[in-house]
Protein backbone atom coordinates (compact mmCIF):
# COMPACT_ATOMS: atom_id res chain seq x y z
CA UNK A 1 0.00 0.00 0.00
CA UNK A 2 1.17 3.50 -0.81
CA UNK A 3 0.07 6.96 0.19
CA UNK A 4 -2.03 8.39 -2.58
CA UNK A 5 -3.45 11.85 -3.23
CA UNK A 6 -5.94 12.35 -6.04
CA UNK A 7 -5.42 15.20 -8.50
CA UNK A 8 -8.45 16.96 -7.03
CA UNK A 9 -7.15 16.22 -3.55
CA UNK A 10 -3.88 17.91 -4.43
CA UNK A 11 -5.64 21.03 -5.67
CA UNK A 12 -7.83 21.16 -2.55
CA UNK A 13 -4.78 20.74 -0.33
CA UNK A 14 -2.96 23.58 -2.04
CA UNK A 15 -6.07 25.79 -2.02
CA UNK A 16 -6.37 25.09 1.71
CA UNK A 17 -2.75 26.15 2.23
CA UNK A 18 -3.40 29.35 0.29
CA UNK A 19 -6.48 30.05 2.41
CA UNK A 20 -4.38 29.58 5.54
CA UNK A 21 -2.15 32.37 4.27
CA UNK A 22 0.67 30.48 2.60
CA UNK A 23 2.11 31.86 -0.61
CA UNK A 24 2.03 28.99 -3.09
CA UNK A 25 4.63 29.50 -5.79
CA UNK A 26 4.22 27.14 -8.73
CA UNK A 27 4.63 26.75 -12.49
CA UNK A 28 1.98 28.76 -14.27
CA UNK A 29 1.54 30.18 -17.75
CA UNK A 30 2.39 33.90 -17.84
CA UNK A 31 1.23 35.11 -21.26
CA UNK A 32 1.98 31.66 -22.57
CA UNK A 33 5.40 31.44 -20.90
CA UNK A 34 5.86 28.85 -18.18
CA UNK A 35 7.25 30.51 -15.03
CA UNK A 36 7.18 30.08 -11.25
CA UNK A 37 4.78 32.62 -9.79
CA UNK A 38 2.70 32.96 -6.61
CA UNK A 39 -0.72 31.64 -7.64
CA UNK A 40 -4.03 32.94 -6.22
CA UNK A 41 -5.60 29.49 -6.56
CA UNK A 42 -4.35 25.98 -7.27
CA UNK A 43 -6.32 25.71 -10.52
CA UNK A 44 -3.83 28.14 -12.08
CA UNK A 45 -0.95 25.75 -11.59
CA UNK A 46 0.35 23.96 -14.65
CA UNK A 47 0.59 20.54 -13.00
CA UNK A 48 2.07 18.83 -16.03
CA UNK A 49 4.72 21.42 -16.80
CA UNK A 50 7.86 19.55 -17.95
CA UNK A 51 10.14 22.51 -17.15
CA UNK A 52 9.62 26.21 -16.57
CA UNK A 53 11.64 28.63 -18.69
CA UNK A 54 13.20 30.19 -15.58
CA UNK A 55 14.02 28.07 -12.57
CA UNK A 56 12.34 28.30 -9.15
CA UNK A 57 15.33 30.28 -7.87
CA UNK A 58 13.18 33.27 -8.86
CA UNK A 59 11.29 32.81 -5.60
CA UNK A 60 14.14 32.18 -3.16
CA UNK A 61 16.54 34.60 -4.78
CA UNK A 62 14.36 37.19 -6.52
CA UNK A 63 15.52 38.91 -9.68
CA UNK A 64 15.42 42.21 -7.87
CA UNK A 65 15.22 42.67 -4.18
CA UNK A 66 15.15 45.87 -2.15
CA UNK A 67 17.56 45.08 0.66
CA UNK A 68 16.41 48.10 2.63
CA UNK A 69 14.98 51.56 2.28
CA UNK A 70 15.97 54.60 4.31
CA UNK A 71 13.71 57.56 4.76
CA UNK A 72 14.46 60.88 6.37
CA UNK A 73 11.49 61.87 8.48
CA UNK A 74 11.47 64.95 10.74
CA UNK A 75 15.24 64.97 10.85
CA UNK A 76 15.51 61.30 11.82
CA UNK A 77 16.37 58.33 9.63
CA UNK A 78 13.96 55.45 9.38
CA UNK A 79 15.29 52.12 8.10
CA UNK A 80 13.08 49.39 6.67
CA UNK A 81 14.35 45.97 5.69
CA UNK A 82 12.94 44.09 2.74
CA UNK A 83 11.96 41.10 4.82
CA UNK A 84 9.68 38.18 4.00
CA UNK A 85 7.75 37.25 7.12
CA UNK A 86 5.14 34.96 5.58
CA UNK A 87 5.12 31.27 4.81
CA UNK A 88 5.53 29.80 1.36
CA UNK A 89 5.20 26.54 -0.49
CA UNK A 90 7.39 26.16 -3.55
CA UNK A 91 5.45 23.61 -5.53
CA UNK A 92 6.28 21.41 -8.50
CA UNK A 93 10.06 21.21 -8.30
CA UNK A 94 11.51 18.40 -10.33
CA UNK A 95 14.51 16.71 -8.66
CA UNK A 96 16.93 18.81 -10.71
CA UNK A 97 15.36 21.97 -9.30
CA UNK A 98 15.50 20.56 -5.76
CA UNK A 99 19.20 20.03 -6.31
CA UNK A 100 19.30 23.60 -7.63
CA UNK A 101 17.94 24.91 -4.33
CA UNK A 102 20.58 22.92 -2.48
CA UNK A 103 23.31 24.32 -4.72
CA UNK A 104 22.06 27.85 -3.96
CA UNK A 105 22.12 26.99 -0.24
CA UNK A 106 25.78 26.00 -0.43
CA UNK A 107 27.18 29.49 -1.07
CA UNK A 108 24.31 31.58 0.28
CA UNK A 109 23.88 29.81 3.61
CA UNK A 110 27.61 29.35 4.19
CA UNK A 111 28.86 31.48 7.07
CA UNK A 112 28.16 34.39 6.94
CA UNK A 113 24.76 33.51 5.52
CA UNK A 114 22.84 35.79 3.20
CA UNK A 115 20.12 36.94 5.58
CA UNK A 116 17.38 37.61 3.07
CA UNK A 117 17.94 34.32 1.30
CA UNK A 118 17.99 32.38 4.58
CA UNK A 119 14.77 33.99 5.66
CA UNK A 120 12.92 32.98 2.50
CA UNK A 121 14.52 29.56 2.46
CA UNK A 122 13.50 28.78 6.04
CA UNK A 123 9.98 30.01 5.48
CA UNK A 124 9.51 28.00 2.29
CA UNK A 125 8.54 24.33 2.04
CA UNK A 126 9.66 22.47 -1.07
CA UNK A 127 7.11 20.18 -2.74
CA UNK A 128 8.59 18.13 -5.54
CA UNK A 129 7.21 16.31 -8.55
CA UNK A 130 8.99 13.24 -9.86
CA UNK A 131 9.59 13.25 -13.59
CA UNK A 132 7.60 10.87 -15.74
CA UNK A 133 9.57 11.69 -18.84
CA UNK A 134 12.83 13.31 -19.83
CA UNK A 135 13.34 16.04 -22.35
CA UNK A 136 16.19 15.82 -24.87
CA UNK A 137 18.25 18.34 -22.85
CA UNK A 138 17.92 16.54 -19.49
CA UNK A 139 21.06 15.09 -17.88
CA UNK A 140 20.28 15.15 -14.15
CA UNK A 141 21.79 11.73 -13.41
CA UNK A 142 25.15 13.12 -14.49
CA UNK A 143 24.89 15.72 -11.74
CA UNK A 144 24.05 13.50 -8.81
CA UNK A 145 20.29 13.44 -8.82
CA UNK A 146 17.70 11.42 -10.75
CA UNK A 147 14.11 11.74 -12.01
CA UNK A 148 12.55 10.32 -8.82
CA UNK A 149 15.10 11.53 -6.24
CA UNK A 150 13.39 13.09 -3.17
CA UNK A 151 16.63 14.52 -1.71
CA UNK A 152 16.44 18.17 -0.58
CA UNK A 153 12.61 18.13 -0.79
CA UNK A 154 10.05 18.29 2.00
CA UNK A 155 7.36 16.42 0.07
CA UNK A 156 7.74 14.31 -3.04
CA UNK A 157 4.84 13.58 -5.34
CA UNK A 158 5.04 10.94 -8.05
CA UNK A 159 2.42 11.25 -10.79
CA UNK A 160 0.37 8.07 -11.26
CA UNK A 161 -2.99 7.36 -12.86
CA UNK A 162 -5.54 9.77 -11.36
CA UNK A 163 -3.24 11.40 -8.86
CA UNK A 164 0.05 11.20 -7.04
CA UNK A 165 2.01 8.93 -4.77
CA UNK A 166 2.96 10.96 -1.72
CA UNK A 167 6.15 10.76 0.29
CA UNK A 168 7.21 13.18 2.95
CA UNK A 169 10.92 13.65 3.08
CA UNK A 170 11.16 15.84 6.19
CA UNK A 171 9.29 16.85 9.36
CA UNK A 172 8.37 20.07 7.59
CA UNK A 173 6.85 17.98 4.83
CA UNK A 174 4.94 15.71 7.19
CA UNK A 175 3.46 18.75 8.96
CA UNK A 176 2.49 20.29 5.64
CA UNK A 177 0.72 17.08 4.59
CA UNK A 178 -1.47 17.08 7.72
CA UNK A 179 -4.20 18.91 5.79
CA UNK A 180 -4.00 16.70 2.67
CA UNK A 181 -6.62 14.03 1.98
CA UNK A 182 -4.02 11.30 1.65
CA UNK A 183 -5.41 7.77 1.36
CA UNK A 184 -3.80 4.35 1.39
CA UNK A 185 -4.03 2.71 -1.98
CA UNK A 186 -2.38 -0.06 -3.87
CA UNK A 187 -0.62 1.75 -6.71
CA UNK A 188 2.35 0.56 -8.65
CA UNK A 189 5.34 2.90 -8.58
CA UNK A 190 6.11 3.82 -12.18
CA UNK A 191 9.54 3.18 -13.59
CA UNK A 192 11.38 6.53 -13.72
CA UNK A 193 12.74 7.67 -17.08
CA UNK A 194 16.41 7.45 -17.84
CA UNK A 195 18.11 10.63 -19.04
CA UNK A 196 21.39 10.72 -20.94
CA UNK A 197 24.52 10.18 -18.91
CA UNK A 198 27.62 12.35 -19.31
CA UNK A 199 31.07 11.81 -17.82
CA UNK A 200 31.30 14.44 -15.07
CA UNK A 201 33.44 12.67 -12.46
CA UNK A 202 36.71 14.28 -13.40
CA UNK A 203 35.57 17.71 -14.55
CA UNK A 204 37.46 20.01 -12.14
CA UNK A 205 40.79 18.39 -12.91
CA UNK A 206 40.16 18.32 -16.66
CA UNK A 207 39.01 21.93 -16.56
CA UNK A 208 42.17 23.05 -14.80
CA UNK A 209 44.27 21.26 -17.40
CA UNK A 210 42.33 22.82 -20.29
CA UNK A 211 42.00 26.28 -18.81
CA UNK A 212 44.06 27.96 -21.54
CA UNK A 213 42.95 25.70 -24.39
CA UNK A 214 41.96 27.46 -27.65
CA UNK A 215 38.68 25.53 -27.46
CA UNK A 216 37.12 28.28 -25.35
CA UNK A 217 37.71 30.89 -28.00
CA UNK A 218 36.14 28.70 -30.65
CA UNK A 219 32.95 28.06 -28.67
CA UNK A 220 32.80 31.74 -27.75
CA UNK A 221 32.89 32.78 -31.42
CA UNK A 222 29.14 32.34 -31.67
CA UNK A 223 28.33 33.37 -28.07
CA UNK A 224 26.31 36.58 -27.91
CA UNK A 225 27.22 37.14 -24.24
CA UNK A 226 23.63 37.75 -23.27
CA UNK A 227 22.49 36.79 -19.79
CA UNK A 228 20.01 34.08 -20.77
CA UNK A 229 22.02 31.09 -19.56
CA UNK A 230 22.72 32.71 -16.19
CA UNK A 231 19.15 33.82 -15.70
CA UNK A 232 17.43 30.54 -16.60
CA UNK A 233 20.00 28.64 -14.51
CA UNK A 234 18.87 27.27 -11.14
CA UNK A 235 22.35 27.72 -9.65
CA UNK A 236 23.80 30.97 -11.00
CA UNK A 237 23.74 33.42 -8.11
CA UNK A 238 25.78 36.46 -9.15
CA UNK A 239 24.23 39.80 -8.38
CA UNK A 240 24.87 43.51 -8.42
CA UNK A 241 23.93 46.02 -5.72
CA UNK A 242 23.23 49.70 -6.25
CA UNK A 243 21.82 52.51 -4.19
CA UNK A 244 19.13 54.80 -5.49
CA UNK A 245 18.11 58.03 -3.83
CA UNK A 246 15.07 60.12 -4.54
CA UNK A 247 14.00 63.06 -2.39
CA UNK A 248 14.04 61.96 1.22
CA UNK A 249 14.26 58.25 0.54
CA UNK A 250 17.03 55.98 -0.57
CA UNK A 251 17.03 52.30 -1.27
CA UNK A 252 19.59 49.60 -1.79
CA UNK A 253 18.64 47.23 -4.59
CA UNK A 254 20.09 43.84 -5.39
CA UNK A 255 19.52 42.47 -8.88
CA UNK A 256 20.61 39.41 -10.81
CA UNK A 257 23.76 39.86 -12.80
CA UNK A 258 25.66 37.61 -15.17
CA UNK A 259 29.34 36.99 -15.80
CA UNK A 260 28.47 37.34 -19.48
CA UNK A 261 27.14 40.88 -19.05
CA UNK A 262 28.93 43.90 -20.43
CA UNK A 263 30.74 45.55 -17.57
CA UNK A 264 30.58 42.58 -15.18
CA UNK A 265 34.32 42.89 -14.66
CA UNK A 266 34.70 46.60 -15.38
CA UNK A 267 36.61 48.25 -12.57
CA UNK A 268 37.29 51.77 -11.36
CA UNK A 269 38.81 53.89 -14.11
CA UNK A 270 36.88 51.97 -16.75
CA UNK A 271 39.34 49.11 -17.29
CA UNK A 272 37.86 45.68 -17.98
CA UNK A 273 40.29 42.80 -17.41
CA UNK A 274 38.02 40.24 -19.07
CA UNK A 275 36.97 41.45 -22.50
CA UNK A 276 38.25 38.41 -24.38
CA UNK A 277 35.25 36.43 -25.63
CA UNK A 278 36.73 33.04 -24.81
CA UNK A 279 37.71 34.04 -21.28
CA UNK A 280 34.29 35.50 -20.74
CA UNK A 281 32.43 32.40 -21.85
CA UNK A 282 34.85 30.14 -19.96
CA UNK A 283 34.10 32.01 -16.73
CA UNK A 284 30.55 30.66 -16.53
CA UNK A 285 31.67 27.06 -16.96
CA UNK A 286 34.74 27.51 -14.79
CA UNK A 287 32.51 28.70 -11.98
CA UNK A 288 30.32 25.62 -12.33
CA UNK A 289 32.94 22.95 -12.88
CA UNK A 290 36.08 24.32 -11.24
CA UNK A 291 35.74 27.23 -8.80
CA UNK A 292 32.54 26.07 -7.12
CA UNK A 293 33.70 22.51 -6.39
CA UNK A 294 37.07 23.85 -5.28
CA UNK A 295 35.57 26.50 -3.02
CA UNK A 296 32.86 24.37 -1.46
CA UNK A 297 34.52 20.99 -1.45
CA UNK A 298 32.66 18.83 -3.84
CA UNK A 299 29.57 19.41 -5.91
CA UNK A 300 29.55 20.80 -9.41
CA UNK A 301 27.28 23.82 -9.69
CA UNK A 302 24.97 22.36 -12.32
CA UNK A 303 21.79 20.32 -11.96
CA UNK A 304 21.43 18.89 -15.45
CA UNK A 305 18.09 20.63 -15.94
CA UNK A 306 19.08 21.65 -19.47
CA UNK A 307 17.40 25.06 -19.37
CA UNK A 308 20.46 26.80 -20.78
CA UNK A 309 20.60 24.24 -23.57
CA UNK A 310 17.02 24.95 -24.56
CA UNK A 311 17.13 28.73 -24.22
CA UNK A 312 20.51 29.59 -25.75
CA UNK A 313 19.84 31.48 -29.00
CA UNK A 314 23.05 30.16 -30.58
CA UNK A 315 23.13 26.65 -29.10
CA UNK A 316 26.05 26.87 -26.67
CA UNK A 317 25.38 23.44 -25.21
CA UNK A 318 26.77 22.66 -21.76
CA UNK A 319 26.51 18.94 -22.54
CA UNK A 320 28.82 19.36 -25.52
CA UNK A 321 31.22 21.34 -23.33
CA UNK A 322 31.31 18.51 -20.78
CA UNK A 323 31.89 15.96 -23.53
CA UNK A 324 34.59 18.08 -25.15
CA UNK A 325 36.39 18.70 -21.83
CA UNK A 326 36.56 14.95 -21.44
CA UNK A 327 37.70 14.32 -25.01
CA UNK A 328 40.36 17.04 -25.04
CA UNK A 329 41.34 16.52 -21.42
CA UNK A 330 41.92 12.80 -21.64
CA UNK A 331 43.91 13.37 -24.81
CA UNK A 332 46.16 15.94 -23.15
CA UNK A 333 46.44 14.86 -19.51
CA UNK A 334 45.32 11.25 -19.55
CA UNK A 335 42.57 9.65 -17.54
CA UNK A 336 42.10 10.17 -13.82
CA UNK A 337 43.34 6.66 -12.99
CA UNK A 338 46.72 7.22 -14.58
CA UNK A 339 47.19 10.44 -12.65
CA UNK A 340 46.18 8.78 -9.40
Amino acid sequence: MSRFLSRQGLLSWLDGLIQQGAVVVAPTAVEGVSLYRPVPKAAEIDLDCPATVLSPKEWLFPMSHTLFTVERKDGALELKEGAFDGRAVLFGLHPCDALGVHLMDVPLLADPADGLYRERRERTALVGLACTQCRPECFCTSMGTSPADPTHLDVMLTPVEGGYLVASASDKGEALLASAAVEERDVAVPEPPNPQRLPTEDLPRLFRALFSHPYWGRVADRCLHCNICSYVCPTCYCFDIRDYARGNTAERVRSWESCQAAGFTRIAGGYDPRTNKGAKLRQRFAHKFLYFPEAFGGPLSCTGCGRCVRSCPVNIDIREIIAELNRLGVASVGSGEKQG
Partner: protein
Protein backbone atom coordinates in the same frame (compact mmCIF):
# COMPACT_ATOMS: atom_id res chain seq x y z
CA UNK B 1 22.29 19.36 -62.88
CA UNK B 2 24.13 21.97 -60.84
CA UNK B 3 25.15 21.32 -57.27
CA UNK B 4 22.70 22.16 -54.50
CA UNK B 5 23.07 25.30 -52.38
CA UNK B 6 24.79 23.46 -49.51
CA UNK B 7 27.51 22.10 -51.80
CA UNK B 8 27.88 25.54 -53.34
CA UNK B 9 28.38 27.18 -49.94
CA UNK B 10 30.92 24.56 -48.91
CA UNK B 11 32.78 24.91 -52.20
CA UNK B 12 32.87 28.70 -52.00
CA UNK B 13 33.97 28.63 -48.36
CA UNK B 14 36.68 26.10 -49.13
CA UNK B 15 37.90 28.23 -52.01
CA UNK B 16 38.00 31.43 -49.93
CA UNK B 17 39.84 29.78 -47.05
CA UNK B 18 42.28 27.85 -49.25
CA UNK B 19 43.19 31.03 -51.13
CA UNK B 20 43.48 32.84 -47.79
CA UNK B 21 41.15 35.46 -49.15
CA UNK B 22 39.41 35.45 -45.76
CA UNK B 23 40.45 34.18 -42.31
CA UNK B 24 37.05 32.89 -41.41
CA UNK B 25 33.77 31.92 -43.04
CA UNK B 26 30.66 32.32 -40.91
CA UNK B 27 27.81 30.06 -41.93
CA UNK B 28 25.42 27.56 -40.39
CA UNK B 29 25.87 24.05 -39.07
CA UNK B 30 23.42 21.59 -37.53
CA UNK B 31 22.68 22.32 -33.86
CA UNK B 32 23.07 19.79 -31.06
CA UNK B 33 19.42 18.75 -31.30
CA UNK B 34 19.95 17.43 -34.81
CA UNK B 35 16.97 19.50 -35.92
CA UNK B 36 17.79 23.20 -35.92
CA UNK B 37 20.81 25.25 -36.99
CA UNK B 38 23.51 27.25 -35.25
CA UNK B 39 26.29 29.56 -36.39
CA UNK B 40 29.57 27.98 -37.45
CA UNK B 41 32.87 29.84 -37.74
CA UNK B 42 35.09 27.90 -40.13
CA UNK B 43 38.80 28.74 -40.18
CA UNK B 44 40.10 25.80 -42.19
CA UNK B 45 38.98 24.21 -45.47
CA UNK B 46 38.28 20.96 -43.59
CA UNK B 47 35.65 22.59 -41.41
CA UNK B 48 33.61 23.75 -44.38
CA UNK B 49 32.05 20.29 -44.73
CA UNK B 50 29.95 21.10 -41.68
CA UNK B 51 28.09 23.95 -43.37
CA UNK B 52 24.38 23.45 -43.96
CA UNK B 53 21.62 25.61 -45.36
CA UNK B 54 17.92 25.07 -44.91
CA UNK B 55 14.85 26.80 -43.52
CA UNK B 56 16.09 26.42 -39.92
CA UNK B 57 18.97 28.83 -40.61
CA UNK B 58 17.33 31.71 -38.80
CA UNK B 59 20.28 33.58 -37.27
CA UNK B 60 21.48 36.90 -38.67
CA UNK B 61 25.15 36.00 -39.02
CA UNK B 62 26.15 39.45 -40.29
CA UNK B 63 25.87 40.63 -36.69
CA UNK B 64 29.12 38.77 -35.99
CA UNK B 65 30.97 41.14 -38.31
CA UNK B 66 30.98 43.53 -35.35
CA UNK B 67 33.24 41.03 -33.55
CA UNK B 68 35.62 40.83 -36.51
CA UNK B 69 35.73 44.44 -37.68
CA UNK B 70 39.21 44.50 -39.16
CA UNK B 71 39.58 40.82 -40.05
CA UNK B 72 38.78 39.55 -43.56
CA UNK B 73 35.63 37.53 -43.10
CA UNK B 74 33.13 35.79 -45.34
CA UNK B 75 29.58 35.53 -44.12
CA UNK B 76 26.47 33.76 -45.38
CA UNK B 77 23.63 36.27 -45.63
CA UNK B 78 19.94 35.84 -46.34
CA UNK B 79 18.17 38.84 -47.90
CA UNK B 80 17.07 40.28 -44.54
CA UNK B 81 20.50 39.76 -42.97
CA UNK B 82 22.26 41.34 -45.93
CA UNK B 83 20.84 44.74 -44.98
CA UNK B 84 23.10 44.54 -41.92
CA UNK B 85 26.14 44.99 -44.13
CA UNK B 86 24.84 48.21 -45.68
CA UNK B 87 23.79 49.49 -42.26
CA UNK B 88 27.15 48.80 -40.63
CA UNK B 89 29.18 50.12 -43.56
CA UNK B 90 27.13 53.33 -43.62
CA UNK B 91 27.53 53.72 -39.89
CA UNK B 92 31.27 53.15 -40.32
CA UNK B 93 31.38 50.12 -38.06
CA UNK B 94 32.78 47.70 -40.63
CA UNK B 95 34.77 48.02 -43.83
CA UNK B 96 33.10 46.68 -46.93
CA UNK B 97 36.39 45.41 -48.35
CA UNK B 98 36.95 43.18 -45.32
CA UNK B 99 33.66 41.41 -45.89
CA UNK B 100 32.95 38.73 -48.46
CA UNK B 101 29.19 38.29 -48.53
CA UNK B 102 27.97 34.88 -49.64
CA UNK B 103 24.41 35.84 -50.47
CA UNK B 104 21.69 33.23 -50.50
CA UNK B 105 18.22 33.74 -51.90
CA UNK B 106 15.59 32.87 -49.34
CA UNK B 107 12.30 31.02 -49.62
CA UNK B 108 11.57 31.93 -45.98
CA UNK B 109 12.67 30.37 -42.70
CA UNK B 110 10.78 28.65 -39.90
CA UNK B 111 10.39 29.36 -36.19
CA UNK B 112 13.22 27.10 -35.12
CA UNK B 113 13.21 26.24 -31.42
CA UNK B 114 15.87 23.96 -30.02
CA UNK B 115 14.65 20.42 -29.53
CA UNK B 116 11.42 20.86 -31.46
CA UNK B 117 10.76 19.84 -35.04
CA UNK B 118 10.66 23.08 -36.95
CA UNK B 119 7.39 23.49 -38.80
CA UNK B 120 5.84 26.94 -38.35
CA UNK B 121 6.98 29.55 -40.88
CA UNK B 122 8.35 32.78 -39.41
CA UNK B 123 5.64 35.41 -39.62
CA UNK B 124 8.28 37.94 -40.68
CA UNK B 125 8.95 36.07 -43.89
CA UNK B 126 5.32 36.60 -44.94
CA UNK B 127 5.90 40.36 -45.17
CA UNK B 128 9.53 40.36 -46.31
CA UNK B 129 9.95 42.47 -49.43
CA UNK B 130 13.22 40.90 -50.47
CA UNK B 131 13.85 37.89 -52.64
CA UNK B 132 17.58 38.36 -53.03
CA UNK B 133 20.23 39.82 -50.73
CA UNK B 134 20.68 43.56 -51.26
CA UNK B 135 24.44 43.13 -51.21
CA UNK B 136 26.62 40.12 -52.02
CA UNK B 137 29.92 39.13 -53.56
CA UNK B 138 28.74 35.69 -54.57
CA UNK B 139 25.14 34.62 -54.98
CA UNK B 140 23.70 31.18 -54.33
CA UNK B 141 20.16 30.55 -55.40
CA UNK B 142 18.03 28.41 -53.16
CA UNK B 143 15.14 26.71 -54.89
CA UNK B 144 11.76 26.98 -53.22
CA UNK B 145 8.50 28.81 -53.17
CA UNK B 146 8.49 32.12 -51.32
CA UNK B 147 5.67 32.55 -48.83
CA UNK B 148 4.74 35.81 -50.54
CA UNK B 149 5.99 37.22 -53.81
CA UNK B 150 8.83 39.67 -53.19
CA UNK B 151 9.86 41.96 -55.97
CA UNK B 152 13.10 43.18 -54.45
CA UNK B 153 11.50 46.61 -54.45
CA UNK B 154 10.40 48.46 -51.39
CA UNK B 155 6.89 47.51 -50.40
CA UNK B 156 4.42 49.73 -48.57
CA UNK B 157 4.17 48.73 -44.93
CA UNK B 158 0.90 46.91 -45.02
CA UNK B 159 0.18 43.37 -44.11
CA UNK B 160 1.51 43.68 -40.57
CA UNK B 161 -1.66 42.41 -38.91
CA UNK B 162 -0.30 42.48 -35.36
CA UNK B 163 0.91 46.06 -35.71
CA UNK B 164 -2.40 47.08 -37.20
CA UNK B 165 -4.25 45.38 -34.36
CA UNK B 166 -2.23 47.42 -31.89
CA UNK B 167 -2.76 50.65 -33.84
CA UNK B 168 -6.50 50.10 -33.59
CA UNK B 169 -6.35 49.99 -29.79
CA UNK B 170 -6.89 52.98 -27.57
CA UNK B 171 -3.77 54.49 -26.00
CA UNK B 172 -4.79 52.99 -22.68
CA UNK B 173 -5.25 49.50 -24.14
CA UNK B 174 -1.90 49.76 -25.85
CA UNK B 175 -0.22 50.86 -22.65
CA UNK B 176 -1.71 47.88 -20.85
CA UNK B 177 -0.63 45.54 -23.62
CA UNK B 178 2.98 46.67 -23.40
CA UNK B 179 3.04 46.80 -19.62
CA UNK B 180 1.99 43.16 -19.60
CA UNK B 181 4.75 42.29 -22.05
CA UNK B 182 7.51 44.26 -20.31
CA UNK B 183 6.53 42.97 -16.90
CA UNK B 184 7.99 39.54 -17.65
CA UNK B 185 11.21 40.88 -19.20
CA UNK B 186 14.23 39.57 -17.31
CA UNK B 187 16.67 42.15 -18.66
CA UNK B 188 18.90 39.41 -20.09
CA UNK B 189 19.72 41.81 -22.93
CA UNK B 190 19.68 39.01 -25.50
CA UNK B 191 17.69 41.39 -27.73
CA UNK B 192 20.55 43.88 -27.56
CA UNK B 193 23.34 41.35 -27.87
CA UNK B 194 21.90 39.77 -31.00
CA UNK B 195 21.02 43.08 -32.64
CA UNK B 196 23.32 44.25 -35.45
CA UNK B 197 22.36 47.85 -34.66
CA UNK B 198 23.26 47.62 -30.96
CA UNK B 199 26.99 48.12 -30.82
CA UNK B 200 27.51 51.03 -28.41
CA UNK B 201 30.73 50.44 -26.44
CA UNK B 202 28.73 51.18 -23.29
CA UNK B 203 24.98 50.79 -23.57
CA UNK B 204 22.90 53.43 -21.79
CA UNK B 205 21.58 50.80 -19.36
CA UNK B 206 25.12 49.89 -18.35
CA UNK B 207 26.26 53.44 -17.80
CA UNK B 208 26.94 54.30 -14.18
CA UNK B 209 27.51 58.03 -14.37
CA UNK B 210 25.00 59.28 -15.15
CA UNK B 211 22.67 56.41 -14.40
CA UNK B 212 19.88 56.50 -16.97
CA UNK B 213 18.05 53.39 -15.84
CA UNK B 214 18.29 51.47 -12.59
CA UNK B 215 19.40 47.84 -12.45
CA UNK B 216 16.11 46.72 -10.94
CA UNK B 217 14.41 44.06 -13.05
CA UNK B 218 10.90 45.44 -12.64
CA UNK B 219 8.11 46.79 -14.85
CA UNK B 220 9.07 50.50 -14.84
CA UNK B 221 12.77 49.94 -15.53
CA UNK B 222 12.02 47.24 -18.11
CA UNK B 223 9.72 49.61 -19.94
CA UNK B 224 12.34 52.36 -20.06
CA UNK B 225 14.84 49.84 -21.38
CA UNK B 226 12.64 48.65 -24.23
CA UNK B 227 11.33 52.04 -25.25
CA UNK B 228 14.73 53.72 -25.34
CA UNK B 229 16.23 50.78 -27.20
CA UNK B 230 13.42 50.94 -29.75
CA UNK B 231 14.04 54.67 -30.26
CA UNK B 232 17.75 54.09 -30.70
CA UNK B 233 16.86 51.71 -33.52
CA UNK B 234 14.36 53.96 -35.23
CA UNK B 235 15.42 54.17 -38.86
CA UNK B 236 18.16 51.64 -38.15
CA UNK B 237 16.32 48.36 -37.63
CA UNK B 238 16.99 46.09 -40.62
CA UNK B 239 14.05 43.86 -39.69
CA UNK B 240 15.89 40.56 -39.22
CA UNK B 241 13.60 39.83 -36.27
CA UNK B 242 16.41 38.34 -34.20
CA UNK B 243 15.50 40.30 -31.05
CA UNK B 244 12.11 38.69 -30.98
CA UNK B 245 13.45 35.24 -31.82
CA UNK B 246 15.98 35.18 -28.98
CA UNK B 247 13.73 36.58 -26.25
CA UNK B 248 13.47 33.80 -23.66
CA UNK B 249 10.08 35.06 -22.45
CA UNK B 250 8.51 35.74 -25.84
CA UNK B 251 8.15 39.53 -25.88
CA UNK B 252 6.97 40.59 -29.38
CA UNK B 253 9.70 43.18 -29.81
CA UNK B 254 9.34 43.47 -33.58
CA UNK B 255 6.00 45.17 -33.02
CA UNK B 256 7.87 48.13 -31.54
CA UNK B 257 10.47 48.08 -34.29
CA UNK B 258 7.87 47.76 -37.04
CA UNK B 259 5.99 50.75 -35.69
CA UNK B 260 9.10 52.92 -35.68
CA UNK B 261 10.16 51.64 -39.10
CA UNK B 262 6.76 52.72 -40.41
CA UNK B 263 7.11 56.15 -38.75
CA UNK B 264 10.57 56.77 -40.19
CA UNK B 265 9.46 55.58 -43.59
CA UNK B 266 6.48 57.92 -43.46
CA UNK B 267 8.58 60.91 -42.42
CA UNK B 268 11.73 60.38 -44.43
CA UNK B 269 10.79 57.86 -47.10
CA UNK B 270 13.64 55.68 -45.84
CA UNK B 271 14.19 52.09 -44.85
CA UNK B 272 17.67 51.24 -43.61
CA UNK B 273 20.16 48.95 -45.25
CA UNK B 274 18.40 48.51 -48.56
CA UNK B 275 21.20 50.17 -50.50
CA UNK B 276 24.63 51.51 -49.63
CA UNK B 277 24.10 54.98 -51.14
CA UNK B 278 21.01 56.54 -49.54
CA UNK B 279 22.11 58.35 -46.42
CA UNK B 280 20.18 57.46 -43.28
CA UNK B 281 17.98 60.28 -41.93
CA UNK B 282 19.89 60.44 -38.67
CA UNK B 283 23.20 60.77 -40.48
CA UNK B 284 22.10 63.62 -42.68
CA UNK B 285 20.40 66.99 -42.53
CA UNK B 286 18.23 68.60 -45.16
CA UNK B 287 17.23 72.19 -44.81
CA UNK B 288 13.69 71.49 -45.98
CA UNK B 289 13.18 69.22 -42.97
CA UNK B 290 12.77 72.42 -40.96
CA UNK B 291 9.63 73.05 -42.97
CA UNK B 292 8.27 69.56 -42.51
CA UNK B 293 4.83 69.40 -41.03
CA UNK B 294 4.77 68.35 -37.44
Amino acid sequence: MAEGPVEQIRAKARELLSARQVECVIGYERASDGLTARPLFAYTPEETDRFILDNTCVHNLARYLLDRRTKPTAVVVKPCDSRTINLLVQEKQIQRDKVFAIGVSCPGVVEARWGESPEKPQPRCQTCPLELPVVYDHLITVPGERPSPGSGQRQPRTGFPEMERLQAMSAQERREFWQKQFKRCVRCYACRQVCPGCYCPICFVDQLDPTWVGIRIAPAENQVWHLIRAFHLAGRCIECGECQRVCPVGIPLMLLNDKLTAEVEGLFDFRPGLDPETLPPFATFKKEELEAER
